[in-house]
């Protein structure tokens, strides 16, 4: 049995940021990593993926991008390298290959069992991420076995799929990116579109995420957000990081030949049935995007930035077919593969502390979990809207480790 003041679970950017602030306070700790540093980036991402945030936004405590292309977007090997380097410069005490199998409460702290060793500690920071498992809807069970099914964890590149039609389910960042590259590979893509977030890649000459950052939208605190539950499950925006800084919304996919259908509602007798409500799904996304652009313009005016930016833009409404397809025969051979781009969910199967709700989400208030000494980092809108982005972790980690340090100090003096 080993002892530490704190155990951090996960050596991604969030866990390493926690470690940075723990080290700054000289709190002894160990960062447990099931695989290698930045493991999900190494093993659970597809080949063409790049960060959605431009390089200049790759900022971690004491470590930031210094390369020649601040406006570019890192590839997966570059992100891995970036996080690996952060682990080195911050001398994080990472124990790799230590898969956490159980965390339970003891009298004065926690007992953490891993595949390598067991630990006793007074505080635990859960930084294992929000994307541990692909979230695939139940109706996948009813898809005929003649159709191959892939999740974003299995998907690497178009060439590994059979030739023929692909049904991509989900039109968030992952779905639109995979739909585009599969269609380009000569596989006719049908894209099932539910609620989504539409964004242009650039607005008035600046990256749209520059706007999110500069205008203060990303700084909105979790306790200022109207509907926090909803904000926390907001799908990722329709964005891709490419050297061309191209917008990849539905209007970009349609001319490529991607066929848009509504949300996949059911499978009946081998037929995929899609919602007839696509038009409203795109209206909602168009209206929300316009409201966001209004917010940006209002900020630019109030902040005296108006003249240094390009002229305001408004983008064409999303075009959808006059009447969308409502059914598709999955046994006809038209669709050879279904790619589920329906999001991810966290895995807390190892967490033997009653702090996970019925839907599998960790209950916390700005990263402070109700069980004393238990903390979380790297979850959507953990403390601010920018929480899941690399540049959002510094503020969150500082605040959470502040709280943790206060907790340990109080325990020591009592």
């Amino acid at each position: 049995m080993e002892r530490a003041a704190a155990i951090v679970i996960g050596a991604g950017h969030a866990g390493l940021a926690a470690s940075h602030f723990l080290s700054a306070r000289a709190l002894d700790h160990v960062v447990l990593e099931r695989g290698e540093v930045a493991n999900s980036w190494r093993r659970e991402r597809w080949d063409s993926l790049r960060l959605l945030t431009p390089n200049w936004q790759s900022r971690l405590p004491g470590h930031h991008y210094e390369g020649p292309d601040p406006d570019g977007y890192m590839t997966v090997p570059e992100v891995t390298e970036f996080i690996q380097r952060f682990a080195k410069v911050s001398s994080a005490p990472v124990l790799t290959g230590a898969n956490v199998t159980r965390v339970r409460r003891t009298g004065d702290g926690y007992h953490v069992a891993t595949s390598l060793a067991e630990f006793r500690c007074r505080a635990v920071v859960i930084a294992s991420g929000a994307c541990n498992l692909p979230a695939v809807p139940q109706l996948s069970d009813a898809v005929p076995s003649s159709v191959e099914q892939l999740t974003t964890f299995d998907y690497r590149e178009p060439a590994r799929l059979p030739s023929g039609g692909v049904l991509v389910v989900g039109a968030s960042a992952t779905g639109v990116q995979l739909a585009a590259e599969l269609q380009r590979s000569g596989r006719p893509v049908t894209l099932s579109v539910g609620e989504h977030v539409r964004l242009p890649r650039t607005y008035r000459g600046r990256d749209v995420l520059w706007w999110m950052d500069a205008s203060g939208v990303w700084d909105q605190r979790h306790d200022e957000v109207d509907d926090l539950t909803r904000a926390r499950r907001l799908p990722s925006p329709q964005l891709v990081g490419t050297p061309e800084r191209a917008t990849l919304d539905l209007n970009a996919l349609t001319p490529m030949g991607v066929n848009l259908v509504g949300r996949w509602a059911a499978v009946r007798d081998g037929q995929a049935l899609f919602s007839g409500g696509l038009r409203n799904a795109v209206s909602l996304a168009d209206l929300k995007m316009d409201r966001l652009l209004d917010t940006f313009d209002a900020w630019a005016m109030a902040d005296g930035r108006w003249s240094e930016l390009g002229p305001p833009e408004r983008f064409a409404s999303t075009r959808v077919p006059e009447s969308t397809r409502l059914q598709l025969d999955l046994r006809s051979g038209e669709i050879r593969t279904v790619v589920w781009a329906t999001g991810f969910r966290p895995d807390y199967s190892w967490l033997d502390v009653p702090v996970v709700d019925a839907k599998g989400h960790l209950q916390h208030d700005g990263g402070v979990v109700e069980s004393p000494g238990l903390y979380a980092l790297g979850l959507p809108v953990l403390r601010r809207r920018k929480s899941t982005f690399i540049c959002g972790i510094e503020d969150d980690a500082r605040a959470v480790i502040d709280h943790l340090a206060g907790y340990l100090a109080k325990r020591q003096s009592s």
């Binding site: 949300r263 509602a265 059911a266 919602s275 409500g277 409203n280 209206s283 209206l287």
Partner: protein, 182 residues
């Protein structure tokens, strides 16, 4: 909170939402209608009781609906056609949604009118062409809203109303339907 008066008790709805988050069993409702055949294609449908919030409930009064088909269908036209009841439901559901969302967003409505047109190829129900479906091919709802709000805000009201509409969902998504002989 808001000073607008659209007549929707939004606070009660918001309170219910909070309560039912922790009590999903109370949120289970059963809606009922009872039809009785009269003659020809004319039937009378009565609606009064329903189940919800864990117990039997009742409307203040029983509502009675006549359903028939028009004379061009060689019927007596004692009431509207069943498929018209669907667009009655859609129009009323979306309109209720617009009022509720407006109340919640502090938008004063002066008038809301919705017209619904459902495109129906009756060769389906007549069995004249097996490629034609029985139900609507297309439904179009047009809203005319007069309110203290920009066009963009009104469009957002109408969009949000669809997002939270029971009938919009029931018409745009498949529903499992079981019909049996008692």
């Amino acid at each position: 909170m808001t000073t607008v008066a659209n007549g929707v008790n939004v606070q009660a709805l918001l309170d219910a939402r909070e309560v039912l988050k922790g009590a999903p069993e109370a949120a289970q409702f059963t809606w009922r209608a009872a039809a009785k055949w009269n003659h020809g294609v004319h039937s009378t449908i009565k609606v009064q009781s329903f189940f919800g919030l864990g117990q039997e409930q009742s409307h203040k009064e029983e509502s009675v609906f006549e359903a028939d088909h028009p004379e061009v269908f060689a019927a007596e036209d004692n009431g509207i056609t069943p498929i018209e009841y669907l667009i009655v439901g859609l129009a009323s559901c979306l309109t209720a949604g617009v009022a509720s969302v407006a109340q919640n967003r502090g938008i004063q409505l002066r008038s809301v009118e919705a017209t619904v047109e459902g495109q129906h190829d009756i060769r389906g129900i007549l069995g004249a062409d097996s490629d034609v479906r029985n139900g609507y091919n297309d439904i179009k709802v047009t809203f005319n809203v007069d309110a203290d709000a920009s066009r963009q805000e009104i469009e957002a009201l109408v969009a949000q109303s669809q997002k939270r509409s029971a009938v919009f969902d029931a018409l745009t998504n498949p529903t499992n339907v079981t019909v049996e002989v008692a």
